[in-house]
Each structure stands twice: as structure tokens, then as C-alpha cells.
């Protein structure tokens, strides 16, 4: 880091910088800071949305600790994130490596992004139809190959993995593109020397590509994990938390509490708890992966 005292000309630049930041700051204050502060206040109240909030101290939080549904929602969400981020990152890495080493076709890159461009609700509906037990194309294929048709969104075993894989399908292309951009930063001479030393593609991937990708990979992991925790629309469209709560992820639970059951105060408390959990996770992840430093000396 540069810690020299700044020349006076740069002080003017700082002013200009603030000026440029102003629109963003207004938006941030209006749409993030203010609602967050209000949410925090509501988490200490009994608020039905239809009457004025009443201060109840930490009662919501005390209830939250003993709420089996809340813990179940956290467990479901964690399982979802593991399935989703695991499959998505692995697939994206393979795709990015293929793009990097095999083809640089713009067509291929553009095609990878197509699922990501489709709105999430449409993605949910699309797969809801495709995977339908009676009328879906996928089950039609499976049964014509001699398999058994299954309602993937209604089966307690399959519902959560299905939701996770649907979102993997939607986001892998985007993640792959980010990783691919990261791979492009690796200087070409490293690959040349690896080739001269007789390293094969697999070896090159594990000793050159992957280690140098670490900071980018860390960033992608953190952002996609936070995104993954926010899973809501796919669940809301396909399973609505069912069957018997196996896909009731935390955001859907909070939404139900707030807007279906009119317990806004309680929902706000669950939201605050989620912020704390996510904050801790991100901190740990960034520390473990040393995201701010590169190995490229």
C-alpha cells in the first residue's frame, strides 16, 4: 500500500471522487442503509404490518433460538449452498479451463451465458414443466429409456438437489466466464515453460492454472456463496418450501413469516440473524483463501 502523504493536487481529486460517489451513496443510503436500520428496529418489536410496531426487547431473538423451523431452514439452506456451490464451481472450473485451453470462440462464450440471461422465475417455470412427473419431457425421456418417472420437485429425496441443480444450470455459465477472465490474467510464458518441462494438460491445470487463479476463485466463491444463500425465487416458483419443509430455505421462511403470517418483527429478527451468519462466513472464507494477495509475485 502507498502511504506517502498526498500532494495538494490529489486532494482536489478526492473531492471530485466524492462527487462521483454521491449518486451511489444516495442510493445506498436510501435503499440499503435506511431499510437495514428500520429492519433492525423492527426486529425488536412486535409488528404485524397492519398496526404500529410495539417494542418487545429481545423477545423475537429469544423465540428464534427455540424455533425448530428456523433451525431447519438454516440447515436446508446450508445443504442447498453446499450442493449448489459445489457443483457449480466444479463445473465452471472445468468449462473455464476448456475455454481457456481449447477454444476462444466468442460464440461458445456467449452460449454459456444464455441460461444466466433468463430471469429466475422463468428458469423455475421452465424446469417445473420439464421435470413434471406426468407431462414433463425429462420424465418422458426417462420412462422411454425404461426408467421410472419421478416428480422431482415433489419428492422429499429429490426436491432440494433438484432446486440446487436447476440453479447450478442457470449460473454455471456466468461463473465460468468470471473464472475464465481470471485465467486470462495468467501470463502465457508460464504455460510455455510448463510445456517445455513436459507437463501434461492435467498437471498444468493443477500446478499453474489453479494456484494462480486463487484470488479470483476466492472472490467468485464468496460472491456466489452469498448469492446462493439468497435462494428464493426458484423455491417460490417450484416447491414453495415443500414437500413437508424439505426445501424451506431461510429466505422463503422469512418471507412467509413477514408477508403470509404478518409477523414482520419476527421475520426481521430472522433477517438480522442471517446477516450475522453471512458476515461471519464471508470473513472466515476471505481469511482462509487470502483473497487480497496474489501468488503472482
Amino acid at each position: 500500500m502507498d502511504s506517502r502523504p498526498r500532494p495538494p493536487a490529489q486532494r482536489g481529486a478526492a473531492r471530485a471522487a466524492w462527487l462521483f460517489l454521491l449518486p451511489v451513496l444516495v442510493g445506498f443510503g436510501l435503499f440499503y442503509l435506511y431499510p437495514a436500520a428500520r429492519g433492525l428496529w423492527w426486529s425488536f418489536t412486535d409488528y404485524s404490518l397492519l398496526a404500529e410496531p410495539e417494542f418487545t426487547g429481545t423477545q423475537n431473538y429469544a423465540e428464534l433460538v427455540g424455533d425448530a423451523q428456523f433451525w431447519n431452514a438454516l440447515k436446508v439452506t446450508a445443504l442447498y449452498v453446499v450442493l449448489n456451490i459445489g457443483s457449480q464451481t466444479l463445473l465452471a472450473l472445468v468449462l473455464a479451463a476448456l475455454m481457456h485451453r481449447l477454444t476462444r470462440s466468442v460464440m461458445v462464450r456467449a452460449m454459456l451465458l444464455v441460461p444466466w440471461l433468463v430471469p429466475n422465475v422463468t428458469v423455475g417455470l421452465l424446469w417445473l414443466w420439464l421435470l413434471d412427473a406426468d407431462l414433463g419431457f425429462v420424465n418422458h425421456l426417462i420412462s422411454s429409456l425404461g426408467g421410472e418417472s419421478t416428480a422431482y420437485f415433489a419428492s422429499p429425496t429429490w426436491a432440494l438437489p433438484t432446486v440446487a441443480l436447476v440453479n447450478t444450470w442457470a449460473y454455471t455459465g456466468y461463473t465460468a466466464l468470471l473464472l475464465y477472465a481470471g485465467m486470462l490474467q495468467t501470463p502465457g510464458y508460464l504455460y510455455e515453460s510448463a510445456a517445455i518441462d513436459g507437463a501434461g494438460e492435467t498437471r498444468t491445470f493443477f500446478t499453474v492454472t489453479l494456484p494462480l487463479l486463487r484470488p479470483v476463485l476466492a472472490l467468485v466463491l464468496v460472491t456466489s456463496m452469498i448469492g446462493s444463500f439468497q435462494i428464493f425465487d426458484t423455491v417460490a416458483v417450484t416447491t414453495e418450501g415443500g414437500p413437508v419443509n424439505v426445501t424451506k430455505v431461510i429466505y422463503f421462511y422469512i418471507y412467509q413469516k413477514a408477508f403470509h403470517q404478518f409477523e414482520m418483527g419476527y421475520a426481521a429478527a430472522a433477517g438480522v440473524a442471517l446477516v450475522a451468519i453471512l458476515g461471519a462466513l464471508v470473513y472466515v472464507q476471505l481469511r482462509l483463501l487470502k483473497a487480497s494477495s496474489s501468488d503472482l509475485g
Partner: protein, 450 residues
């Protein structure tokens, strides 16, 4: 710095105009004789044309009141309404449903119209019996009846005639929760495996079903309006100690458990699709695909099933007769006035018009639903028959003495719906038995009400 000042000016302008609009909003509260526009919200898109006609007729009689109708699909409708009420921006008049109305009443969001009803001497006897009382609590009235619906069996005519089942066989078919009665035998006869064996054939292969005899609704909240509720009531079950506004639910009733188990047995025998092999697209889609012979449907669906574009030919039959007779859920809608409206008098005029023969006859002509007023209801039936739709079973059931029951009406309906539905689904997924699951659910539900 000029840029900064410009930004500040812009911000000031925005804030000032915001304050100005706020002031303007306040002025409107003193509702004078000037022209008024009322907002009216409904969810049924197939009824929009009828209510547009009503609104036009109303404005012709009351030139000072214009009606602005907004329509949103069922799920979005309630989301919107809740958010609008929370922010004090709700429509002046909105279509109300028994499942949602208690929570608004408990939280004082609906205007008590009893004083108006008494003042203007609205004839409450003109409505289908029981409908007007649905919207009463402690002597206060929260809406006037709009329309009603009952339930019946809808069947695929081709599948029945191929199985040599005469429509007359369905007229008074018996059912009980123990062995399913003649109704279960019929379901078995109508179920076909891929080899064409029916459910009574010893060679019947329940792992390869082509047509299910019956499609049960397994996502049916705490009321089972589309299936188990009707069966359980015909076995003697009732939801609450007192409905509406009871304080104790009866979901631990053994007759309900027996009904839920019967559904489970239909699935085990291969006569109905397994829970995790059910289409998520709704039973009407499965019926359309020719994969179901019968299911239970509501009178609001008749125009869907009898549509010219439908791939299958359907007909309606009355519900089976249980140990306690035939019982159909009857549900009514009403029009409610938002308690925060700035135009209470105008809103009342509109609600009164909506609940009058003038508007309900217009609705009847469109032949989509059955209006709450008996004479208008008869006109709707005539309009249906004239259009070639034989839907008299719904009307017969509504008129039968002791033939109907109303859906459960208490606060916390949303949570209760989820708890009871989860309990039933865990039975149908073979995770537990009906007696255990429903007793536990009943404790939880009653805990919410106490």
C-alpha cells in the same frame, strides 16, 4: 461546484414536490360532492368483463363516482393487498375470501357496514342461505355476498364409456372411509395399467399405470375443499367447535384420520398417483392429458373444463354419498370496504350496487360463476345450460338441506393451513401414520389460537 449545487437543487425539488403531494393527499380527506374515483380490486380475470359492465352501469346512475378496476392473479392479489394495507394505500373496495378475511378483521382493516345495511334496509334474505352470515362477527358486518361455489366430480366421458360405466351409476354412489364403498370400486374399474387391465383384474400391474381412476388433491391446506374436506364431512367430521370464529379445531377426529388413510390406500393400490409422482401442474392438466378418469372440482372451474378448446370431453356428477350423506364445501366471496378509505359513502354505494340484482344479473349473463342472489343464480344456471354446459349438480348441492359446509374461518389461517397440509403430506409420504400426525398438528393449531 456548480454540479453539486445543481444536484442539491434537484434534491430539494424532489423533496418539496413530495411534501406537496402529501399535502394534496390530506386535502382529499374531506370528501366533498366533487367527482370521486374508487379503486376496486379483484383476482378473477374471467370475471373482469362482467364487473366492467357493472361499473359502467353504476357510473351511469352515479355520474360523480367512477370505478377503477384493478385485477391481479390469486397469489399476487393477496400479496399486493397486504402490502397496500400495510402502507395505507389499499383499494377502497376489494373482493374478499374467507381464508383471508379473519386476519383483516382481527387487525381492524375492514369497515363495519352493518349501520349502512340497516339504514338502507338491504334485503339479506335474497342471498343463498348462509352466505350473508359468513361476513358477520360480534354483530358487525364486513361484507355483502358476491357469489358462491360448490364442489362436484368431474369425469372424462370417453374413459367412462370405454369402461362401460353409465353416468347414472355416479348419481348416488356410496362412499365410506373404511373400504371406500362403491366409489372405490368404480375408481378401481376406471384405473388402467399399460396392458389395459383395470384395477379389479388380478393381472393388474400397479407399477405401470396408464390412467388413474381418481386424482386426489394433496396440496389442500387445512380445508380440503378440493377433496378430503368433502369426504371427511360426509363421514361426520367438522373443522371447528363453531364455524365461523370457533376456538377449537378438530383435526384429531378419527373420521378425518380414516379419510386421510383412505387417500393413502388409493395410492398404495395404484388407483391414484403417488405423492412424489404427482404432476405439479395441477389436476386439470393431468385430466387434459387423459391420465385421470375422475377428480373433484369447484364450480369456478366449469368454464375451463367445458371450454371448446379442451382436448377431452368432460361431464359433472354429484359428490359421493358418505355415512352422513352428501356434503359439499360451499364457499362465498364478498366485497369489503377498506377501513382506511377516504370515500366511505361512495364505497358503500358501490358495494351495495355490487350486491344488488342489477349487477348480479349482469354477472349471471356472463355465466362464469354463480351470483349470491338466488334469482341471479338461477339466471346464471340458465345461461350455462343455454351455452350447452350441464352444471346443475353444483346448484343442486348448494340447495340441498344440510348438504353443505363452510370452510374454516379463524385467525392464523395461513399458518394453520401449512401445519395441517404438512401433517397430511407426511402421511401420504409414508413418514408417519394419520392418527399421530393429525393429533400433533391439532395440538399445534389449537396452540396458535389460544
Amino acid at each position: 461546484m456548480r454540479v453539486f449545487r445543481l444536484g442539491a437543487t434537484a434534491l430539494t425539488i424532489v423533496m418539496v414536490s413530495a411534501t406537496l403531494t402529501a399535502c394534496a393527499g390530506n386535502e382529499e380527506e374531506t370528501s366533498g360532492p366533487g367527482p370521486v374515483t374508487l379503486t376496486y380490486a379483484l383476482w378473477a380475470d374471467n370475471q373482469l368483463p362482467a364487473y366492467k359492465q357493472c361499473a359502467d352501469a353504476f357510473t351511469r346512475k352515479n355520474p360523480n363516482i367512477a370505478i377503477n378496476i384493478t385485477q391481479a392473479a390469486w397469489d399476487q392479489y393477496w400479496q399486493n393487498l397486504t402490502t397496500q394495507i400495510a402502507s395505507g394505500e389499499a383499494p377502497d373496495v376489494f373482493t374478499d375470501h374467507v381464508a383471508y378475511y379473519p386476519q383483516f378483521v382481527v387487525r381492524n382493516q375492514i369497515l363495519d357496514i352493518q349501520p349502512y345495511v340497516e339504514r338502507d334496509k338491504v334485503d339479506l334474505a335474497q342471498y343463498q342461505s348462509g352466505l350473508a352470515d359468513l361476513w358477520m362477527r360480534d354483530g358487525k358486518r364486513y361484507g355483502l355476498p358476491k357469489d358462491w361455489d360448490t364442489m362436484a366430480i368431474v369425469y372424462n366421458q370417453d374413459i367412462l364409456s370405454k369402461a362401460k360405466v353409465k353416468p347414472a351409476e355416479l348419481q348416488d354412489i356410496s362412499w365410506n372411509p373404511e373400504d371406500g364403498g362403491d366409489f372405490e370400486k368404480l375408481i378401481a374399474r376406471l384405473t388402467l395399467d399399460e396392458q389395459g387391465h383395470n384395477g379389479l383384474d388380478p393381472a393388474f400391474d400397479k407399477s405401470k399405470i396408464k390412467v388413474y381412476g381418481f386424482l386426489p388433491e394433496m396440496n389442500d391446506g387445512a380445508h380440503g375443499q378440493n377433496g378430503w374436506g368433502n369426504f371427511a364431512h360426509s363421514a361426520g367430521f367438522s373443522y371447528l367447535d363453531k364455524n365461523p370464529w370457533g376456538s377449537h379445531y378438530n383435526y384429531d377426529d378419527p373420521r378425518l384420520a380414516a379419510t386421510v388413510d383412505w387417500y393413502g390406500r388409493l395410492v398404495d393400490k395404484g388407483y391414484a398417483p403417488k405423492f412424489d409422482k404427482q404432476s405439479t401442474l395441477g389436476r386439470d392438466a393431468v385430466m387434459e392429458a387423459g391420465k385421470g378418469a375422475m377428480t373433484i372440482t369447484g364450480s369456478w372451474m366449469v368454464t375451463v373444463y367445458t371450454d371448446q378448446k379442451a382436448k377431452q370431453k368432460y361431464a359433472f356428477a354429484p359428490l359421493p354419498v358418505g355415512p352422513q350423506g352428501r356434503k359439499s364445501a360451499i364457499n362465498g366471496l364478498s366485497d369489503a370496504i377498506y377501513a382506511g378509505t377516504e370515500h366511505k359513502n361512495e364505497a358503500w354505494q358501490w358495494v351495495k350496487f355490487l350486491a344488488s340484482t342489477e349487477c348480479q344479473d349482469l354477472v349471471a349473463q356472463n355465466a362464469v360463476v354463480f351470483p349470491a342472489i338466488k334469482t341471479s343464480s338461477d339466471k346464471a344456471l340458465a345461461a350455462h345450460q343455454a351455452a350447452g354446459r350441464d352444471v346443475h349438480v353444483f346448484v343442486d348441492e348448494a340447495k340441498a338441506a344440510n348438504g353443505t359446509f363452510i370452510l374454516p374461518m379463524t385467525d392464523k389461517a395461513n399458518e394453520i393451513g401449512e401445519i395441517v397440509q404438512n401433517a397430511m403430506q407426511s402421511v401420504w409420504l409414508d413418514q408417519t401414520d394419520a392418527k399421530t400426525a393429525l393429533s400433533a398438528a391439532n395440538k399445534q393449531v389449537n396452540g396458535l389460537l389460544s
